[in-house]
Symmetry: D2
Subunit: 108 residues, 4 copies
Amino acid sequence: MADAPGDGDAGEHGGSHGYITRKDDYLKRLSRIEGQARGLQRMVEQEKYCIDILTQVSAMTKALESVALGLLEEHLAHCVVEAARSGGPEADIKVKEASDAIARLVRS
Amino acid sequence: MADAPGDGDAGEHGGSHGYITRKDDYLKRLSRIEGQARGLQRMVEQEKYCIDILTQVSAMTKALESVALGLLEEHLAHCVVEAARSGGPEADIKVKEASDAIARLVRS
Amino acid sequence: MADAPGDGDAGEHGGSHGYITRKDDYLKRLSRIEGQARGLQRMVEQEKYCIDILTQVSAMTKALESVALGLLEEHLAHCVVEAARSGGPEADIKVKEASDAIARLVRS
Amino acid sequence: MADAPGDGDAGEHGGSHGYITRKDDYLKRLSRIEGQARGLQRMVEQEKYCIDILTQVSAMTKALESVALGLLEEHLAHCVVEAARSGGPEADIKVKEASDAIARLVRS
């Protein structure tokens, strides 16, 4: 299964999840999001104006959403397309799984 | 500024923003969200399965959303209601400001 | 009932819900949204390309969202502000009710 | 290309968009959504309570969202999977297109 990496063969499985080439980019964005979460704690700690805090929450939500959409696109481009190519029932499973993830994103 | 009352001196703005009573609760939730951001970095670092990462992103988005809705309710209950009570154009400004914040939340 | 003022008799509840002045605007927008729903049925009937249908659904969702945000702003500006001014527990009820409606919008 | 039907060969192209088997279901749901849009106009016409109108808007948005998620899943299961199987650059185009549609849904 392409999604069972970690057995010492990072080269082969490394790319299997599709985002390895942009891993650093995702890590940078997530670290910025972590910083936003810390910034929000400071704002609450200092009792900043509620509306300003909400503006930061919206910015952070958008940043997270954008990470999710990027990961999802890579997942479709790699996992789903590969599963489709290798034939068999795997493609159906991957499509169902991706659709459920999309539904969670749309509803969150 | 309507949002800088001054009921004594609980740290100048003390309580003025309405969420002081639940400040610890918000700090706890935001610190948990910060932890989720760190967890996501670990997942990307270890190249976890994309769908599992997306599930975590959805959970984190929901947690953030819930913080935002809580802060907004307190803002309406305190700042907006107080501004309405003190009369004058301040209430209109507060309503416009809150509506813009709501629009950002709905669209993010 | 705070939302049943009675400034004479503009249709019993006239103006009471705050959006009467822009009623025609809302009716026009909702009628356009109804037209979009009919357009979508035609697209499905004719088996138009899925992505084009989804684009229309997004446009329709945005139009609906925008109606909701407009109604909500008027509700805050009228009902909530009036309830705050008339004092008593009514303001708390209105704030809770509005916050629940906002939560439904944010989560839908 | 599978997504250019309408040239007199409904059998072949008919199924190409993937939702033909559930076409009646989608038409029924969209017709219900059209009814909700009409109901909203009646509510505004009769100046129903704002919060009740917002509740209906949320229900309608959820219904639309659910139609979109259904169409999207079928699109992935059919168009995207087929494009992947037939090889060539078509799969990339389909994935990009689907990802853009997902981004519009998530952000609307």
